[in-house]
Assembly symmetry: C2
Homo-oligomer: 270 residues x 2
């Protein structure tokens, strides 16, 4: 298709392909066909990229040997990047302007901002990077971008449980549950065709207070005989300490939010 | 921080940073500090990356000269990539297994799959790449990943209008509208603090049938005195031909869906 590529071209294009598709395994043959280069040459390119990424804390390349082998990009940030994110978001989330009537916190600007969602997704992914889920699951709506971000990092699809069943979901399984905070009965539906028995998943949500929603997803997964590796969220409240779900990872703990004194206290956990 | 970087390192790291952050402008000073390299050297690096990306159809670099200048990545695919995507999704979407009772089409597996969402986002973005919106807007829930994908390509936030107002949105503006297909009265709410008067936006949604939802977002934007540059969706139905919104871009036209004969006819427009 092209004349044989130069090293500079190969470094640029291999880097673009790998870093744009985290966790996706590319065989050396794929690059060999793309560039008309020998595999030994490509192995050198990949070693250079691997070293450079590592040196600058921009992620890692994992090289798998043998038949079925290849190379893939793991979006592992360096500790400095996580510290910067934690400090930046702590400052933003602690702004008393976020306090809403009833002692709620406004977060939509953060959970719909690609800049923060990308970075939070990486931080959440890193908690589960040794697992191999078949899909990521969340409940609509505010957790969707974050869960989608994590799904992309796993190179796997997202599945979304809905608050009300829609005709465009096809046949669904529905469960009722009691919301942890409002104590109201809520409904959650999942399209039957979106998952299969025996699959494995990770639950991701934006916010955990009582843990009712996440618990409902967990129970739903039991119905479908799906293994849940774990549960991650961006923000979990300190109170109630006993939540309806155990063993969740949260990037931040919302320790206190007070309307009267207009104070928010939030702490990073990463 | 590091010893002066080699060209190989710089090519890898500059490529990673630029392609991971489409449309984000990076000054040469930023890279100069990162690598301890002269700007003339960095200009050469950027020229090499620009040529390589162009040659392999992996996007373009735009170099802006002078004070306030810098370089940014434009995720412009080559025509072949769009053709491949159009063919692949046409085949997938035409599968009669997708037909749901009532003549609806099941698409959740596609709109929640990062692989397809990334590619569709680029195709939609390319229709509006000459505009400079302050944010992208959609209505919950299935359009959120696609709209978030487009928002990321513009390096701008997403705003999500909700079907029911939530306490966590703060003060909202609510409008009622008639759904184009179900003819039922629906409600849409938008948090007041999510947008400001005088801003500019693009509406993105997964699916347009009657156009009622998109029209409602459009009316909502008028309330806030926000300019709408345009409207884009992944799939629009052929019927009704007269929709409640004019001048929308759709990646696919759903020409026919018939429960009795189990046929779907869908055509790409890109």
């Amino acid at each position: 298709m092209y004349e044989v590529a130069t090293r500079k071209e190969r470094l640029t294009i291999i880097t673009t392909i790998l870093t744009s598709n985290p966790n996706h395994l590319y065989s050396l043959s794929y690059f060999s066909e793309l560039f008309g280069s020998a595999k030994s040459t490509l192995s050198e390119d990949i070693a250079i990229i691997k070293e450079s990424l590592k040196k600058y804390g921009k992620g890692e390349l994992e090289v798998l040997m043998g038949a079925g082998g290849g190379v893939r990009y793991l979006p592992i940030n360096n500790a400095d990047d996580y510290d910067t994110l934690a400090a930046e978001l702590t400052r933003k989330l602690s702004n008393p302007n976020r306090i809403l009537p009833g002692g709620f916190i406004y977060t939509a600007d953060i959970f719909y901002n690609p800049y923060y969602v990308d970075k939070m997704s990486k931080a959440l992914w890193s908690n589960f990077s040794k697992t191999n889920p078949d899909f990521i699951i969340t409940a609509e709506a505010k957790g969707i971008p974050l869960a989608m971000g994590v799904a992309k990092l796993f190179d796997k699809p997202l599945v979304v449980a809905r608050r009300e069943s829609k005709v465009t979901e096809g046949s669904v399984v529905t469960i009722n549950y009691v919301s942890g905070t409002s104590r109201r009965i809520q409904t959650m539906s999942l399209s039957k065709r979106s998952v299969s028995e025996g699959q494995k998943t990770i639950i991701i949500d934006d916010f955990i207070a009582g843990g009712g929603t996440v618990r409902a997803i967990f129970e739903m997964m039991k119905e479908f005989q799906i293994t849940v590796f774990g549960c991650g969220c961006a923000i979990a409240t300190k109170e109630p300490e006993r939540k309806r779900i155990e063993n969740y990872k949260s990037l931040f703990t919302l320790e206190k939010i007070e309307e009267e004194t207009q104070t928010i206290s939030i702490k990073p956990n990463f």
